[in-house]
Symmetry: C3
Subunit: 402 residues, 3 copies
C-alpha cells in the first residue's frame, strides 16, 4: 500500500493544476481590464522595447584611444618679436598629440630672466611700500613673483614704491594683451583619430573611414556634409561651440570635443558611427569671472657663455581642446529581455488587482461578485463534514488581499 | 451592530485567501508544464545566477591611477649624429610617467633652424613654381612649412623651382627613414604600477604584488609564467599585440595596454587580479593608409652668443603606449537578486499561461477543461437568486485572458 | 449561426475573468501572510525606493574636464645651487594645468653632461670590475647609464674599479637626498576647476561657485568650513590623505584627489555639489618597497659656443596629483520603477506560495484545506457527465505546484 501511495504521489506530479476563474459578465469592468491590458502592452512594446531598447544589454564603459595631429602655420609681425613664423612645434603644447591639446593663440613674453633682485611689479598690492619696513626680508609676496629682500625701491617722482624681490628678474609685466597674436590660428586644422572598443561585446571601431580614397582624407573638412571626415578647422570647432574665435583667442578657453558612439550592435557595424559635438567648458556661469579664460606659464631655459642659466618666461593664452569620448553599445541579451517582460507581466497582475477592486467594491452588484469570487471554507472542529459555503454576504475582504 | 461589523472586518483581515485550483488529470499537459518549469528554473539558476552572477550588484566605473617607469639605454652610431647613447631622459616623452607614454624609435633631425627665408621643400606640390607669379607673397604654403615671400627659387639646371618661404630654415627634408634608429628600444622595460578603486564598494587594489621579495620585482618580466609581474619588455608588448617591433619602430604606432580587473568581491580580495591584454590601436583598417603610424614634431630651442633663437626640429617616430584600465566588480546585493528571482517567477506565470492555452484549446478534451476552469456567473436583474453555473460549453475566452 | 458565434466570441472578450479564491478562516496562516506582505512592502518602500532610490534611472558615465592652476613661489638656499627662487614655471610639470600635475619637491641635479666616456657609478653591481675582461665592449650596463667600452677604470688605492661607459657623462650620483629641497611647497595653492556633464540627462555643472564675489575665490581655501571653495593648500591635501608632507616630499608620491558628484537630479541643480576626498595612491601595501615614492628623470638641453650639445639631468622627486572625477546622477524614470514594483509584486506571489505550503502541509487541518483549494476534474472516456469532485483526501500535490 505504501508503494501504491508513492506511485500515486509521483503520478500526481504530472497532473496539471490551473487556477479557477470566475467569469463576471460585466462589460464595464471587462472593457476597463482590456484597456489596462492594452496600455501595459503598448508601454511594454512601444516604450520599453522599441524606444528604450529594453531587450538589449548595454555597455557604457568604453575604452578609447585618441590621436590628434595639428597642421598649418601662422605668421605674425609684431614690434616685439619682429616677423615670425609659428609652426606646429611652436604652438602646440604638449607636442605628442594626445586627447588633450593646447593651441597657443596669445603670448606675454618676458625674455632674459635671471635669478637676481629687482623691483616687484607695482600692480601687486602686497608689494607696494613706503619704506623698507613694509618689505620684511624673506617674506614671499602674496600672489607675486618672489621673496622680499627688505628694501623698498622707489622712483624719484612717485609717491609709493614697490618692494625689491629676489626672483626671476625682470618680473613679468601684468599687461593683458589687446588683440590675439596668433589670430590666424583659426585656419589651422586638426586631425582626430579615435579608436574605441566596447570590452563587454569585444567590438572595436575607428572614426576614420575605411576608405581607399586617401586624397579624400587629405582634403576633406568636417561639416554637416562630411559627417565622417575626421579633420576639423579650429575656427569651425570654436564657432560650433557657440563662441567667437578671435574673442576666445585673446584670453583663452577650453573647448570640449565630445565624440559620442551610440551603437546598436544588433545592426551592422557600419551603422555604428561617431557623433561629434562641441561645447565650451570653462566659463559656464560668469563672463568676467576668475574662472574664465585659460592660460599657463612655462619657460625655456638657456645658458650663456659663462654657463649661467637664464630663461624666457611665456605666459601662454590659448585654447585647450579636450577630446572626450563616451559611448553606449547595446546588444540583444536574454536577461534584460526577461526582466522587462517579467516586470511587464507582473504589472498586468497589478492591473488585474485594480480591476478586481472596481468589480468587488465600486459597481452596483459588487456584493454579488464578491460572493462568487470568494468561497468561504470553515472546518468546524465539531463536525468533520465539509460544506463549501458559497454566499454573497461577506465583509469587504478583497481590499486586504494585497 | 456597527461595532460587530467593524470587528468582523478586522478579523477577516487575518483570513487567509488562497487561489482555487482545478486539477486537470491530463498527463500530457502536466509533463509539458513540468518541462517548462524546469527549463525556466535551469535558466534562472544556471545562466542568470551561476554564469551571469545575477545576484550581484556591479560597479563598472572604476577610479584608476597609473604610474609608468621606463628603464634601459640604447646606443646608436649614425653618420649624422655619430656615436650616441640614448637614456630615459632622451627617448621618453613626456618624462612624467603617466598612463600614456611615448618611446621614440626613429627620428628625423633638422638642426640649426632659424627664422629666415629659404626655398620650400620641392616635395610639396603647392610650393612648385616656374616664375615669381606662382608664389604670391604672404600666402601660406598648403601643407608646407612657411609663408611665401613672392620669389621663385630655381637651381641652374632644373626646370621647375620652389617658392621661397619665410620659415624656420632650412626646412625639414621629407625623407622617410629606411630603418629604425633606436632599434634596440625593443629591450627596454617598462614598470607599470596601477592602483584601482571601485568607489561603489570602497575596494582598492594595486597590480603590484604585496611581496616582501624586492628582488623579484627587480628581476621579473611579465609572461604567462609570471602573470602578476608588472614589468614588461617593450618588444614583448608589441609582439603580443601581433606586430613586429622593428617594422613598427620604423613608422611608429600606438599600442594599447589593457588592464582588466574583473573582480568578484564575494570572494577574497586576493582573487581580484588584473588581466593584461595588448592590441594595436592605430591601423585597424588600412596598412598603408593616412591613418597608420604615429609621429609628431617637437623642437629644442637654443640661443646663440648674440641671443638669437635657433632650434633643432625633431620629427619623432615611435610607439605610444596607452595604458587603459577598465574593470567590473560584482558583489552580492539583494536588489538585483530580487529583480532576477521576481522576473523568473513572472516567467513561470507566462509558462502557466502557455500550458493553459494548450489545455484549453489544443487537446481533444479542451472543451471540458474550459468549462471546469471558468465558472460563469451572471446576475440577472430579474431574479436575485445566485446560481453558479458550471458548464462545459463556453466560447474560447481563455485566449483573451492575458 | 456562424455570425452569432463570432458575435458571442467578441462579446465574451469583454467579460471580466477573475481568479477564484478560497477563504481559509485560519488566523495563524492569515497573520503569517500579513507579516510576509508587510515585510515585502517595507523592503520595497524603505530599502529599494527610499534608500536605494530604485525609482531612478542612473548615469555613471560622466564627462569631465579639469583645469588646475598652481600659485606660489618657493625659496631655496643650498650649497649646490646657491640662492634660488622657484616659481610655477620651474616646479610644475607639465605646465599646462591638466588633471594630472606634478609638483617637484626634491631634486638631484647632474649638470653639464656630455656624450663621452667616463666611469660608471660604483653603486651599480653590474659595473664593478677587476680587469678589462669584466667589461665586454658594447654591452649595456644592467640598470646602468651607458654602454661598456671595454676598459676597467680603477682608482689608485681601491681594490675594485668600475667599467668605463659611453654615456652622458658624468653619470648621476646615486645619493638619495636627506631632506626635501622645496620643503616650502607645502604652502603652494592649487585652484581646481572641474566642469562635468552627465550625457544621459544633459546636465552640466562646475565646481566653482556661481558667485559674484570674486574676492572670495581669490582668498578662500578649501576646508570643512568652505566645502565649495576650489582652492587647496598642497600641505592640506597631503595631510587629509593621511600623510606627512615633509616625509612625502623627500621621496615623492602620488596623491589622488577624488571629486565625487552624487547628484539627485529630481532635486534642484544647486543641490548637486562635488564632494572631495584625498588618498595616497602609490604605497598601499609596503612602506619601503620598490613601489613607493615617485620620481622621474628629465633633462634640459643646451648648446655651447661650438654647437656641441650638453644637458643638465634632473632626477625630480615630487608629488603627483591625480584629479579623478567620478559621479552618479539619478533621475526618476518609469522603467526601473516598473521593474522594481514588478519584481516586488512577484515576490508577493512567492510569499503567497510560502503561506500556501504552510496552510496545505504544516497545519493540523491541512488535508481539509487541500481539498478545498484543489478541485479535481477527470473526464472519463466512458461517461461524458461532468462531476466536479470536491473532496478532502488528496495526495500532497501542492508541493509540486511551483
Amino acid at each position: 500500500m505504501g508503494q501504491v501511495s508513492w506511485k500515486g504521489l509521483f503520478l500526481s506530479l504530472f497532473d496539471y493544476k490551473t487556477e479557477k476563474y470566475v467569469i463576471a459578465k460585466n462589460k464595464k469592468v471587462g472593457i476597463l481590464y482590456r484597456v489596462v491590458q492594452l496600455s501595459i502592452l503598448a508601454y511594454l512594446v512601444g516604450w520599453v522595447f522599441v524606444v528604450k531598447k529594453g531587450y538589449q544589454d548595454t555597455d557604457t564603459s568604453l575604452q578609447s584611444s585618441v590621436i590628434t595631429k595639428l597642421k598649418g602655420v601662422a605668421f605674425t609681425n609684431t614690434s616685439e618679436l619682429g616677423e615670425r613664423l609659428w609652426d606646429v612645434a611652436d604652438y602646440v603644447i604638449p607636442p605628442q598629440g594626445e586627447n588633450v591639446f593646447f593651441v597657443m593663440t596669445n603670448l606675454i613674453v618676458t625674455p632674459n630672466q635671471r635669478q637676481t633682485t629687482c623691483p616687484e611689479s607695482v600692480s601687486i598690492p602686497d608689494a607696494l611700500c613706503d619704506e623698507d619696513e613694509d618689505c620684511p626680508a624673506g617674506q614671499a609676496v602674496v600672489a607675486g613673483n618672489g621673496v622680499k629682500t627688505g628694501r623698498c625701491l622707489r622712483d624719484r617722482d612717485s609717491i609709493r614704491g614697490s618692494c625689491e624681490v629676489l626672483a626671476w628678474c625682470p618680473v613679468e609685466k601684468r599687461s593683458k594683451p589687446k588683440k590675439p597674436l596668433l589670430a590666424s590660428a583659426e585656419n589651422l586644422t586638426v586631425f582626430i583619430k579615435n579608436s574605441i572598443r566596447f570590452p563587454k561585446f569585444k567590438f572595436s571601431k575607428m572614426n576614420v573611414l575605411a576608405t581607399n580614397n586617401e586624397s579624400y582624407l587629405k582634403s576633406c573638412h568636417y561639416s554637416t556634409e562630411h559627417p565622417y571626415c575626421p579633420i576639423f578647422l579650429l575656427g569651425n570647432i570654436v564657432r560650433w561651440a557657440g563662441n567667437d574665435f578671435q574673442e576666445m583667442a585673446l584670453e583663452g578657453g577650453v573647448i570640449g570635443i565630445q565624440i559620442e558612439w551610440n551603437c546598436d550592435l544588433d545592426k551592422a557595424p557600419s551603422e555604428c558611427n561617431p557623433h561629434y559635438s562641441f561645447s565650451r567648458l570653462d566659463n559656464k556661469f560668469a563672463e568676467k569671472s576668475v574662472s574664465s579664460g585659460y592660460n599657463f606659464r612655462f619657460a625655456k631655459y638657456y645658458r650663456d657663455a659663462e654657463g649661467t642659466e637664464y630663461r624666457t618666461l611665456f605666459k601662454a593664452y590659448g585654447i585647450r581642446f579636450d577630446v572626450m569620448v563616451n559611448g553606449k553599445a547595446g546588444k540583444f541579451n536574454i536577461i534584460p529581455t526577461v526582466i522587462n517582460i517579467g516586470s511587464g507581466l507582473a504589472l498586468m497582475g497589478a492591473g488585474a488587482f485594480f480591476c478586481d477592486l472596481v468589480l468587488l467594491y465600486l459597481i452596483k452588484k459588487s456584493n454579488f461578485y464578491r460572493g462568487k469570487k470568494y468561497e468561504e471554507v470553515k472546518s468546524s472542529s465539531r463536525k468533520s463534514l465539509t460544506s463549501p459555503t458559497l454566499n454573497g454576504s461577506q465583509s469587504p475582504e478583497q481590499l486586504d488581499r494585497l
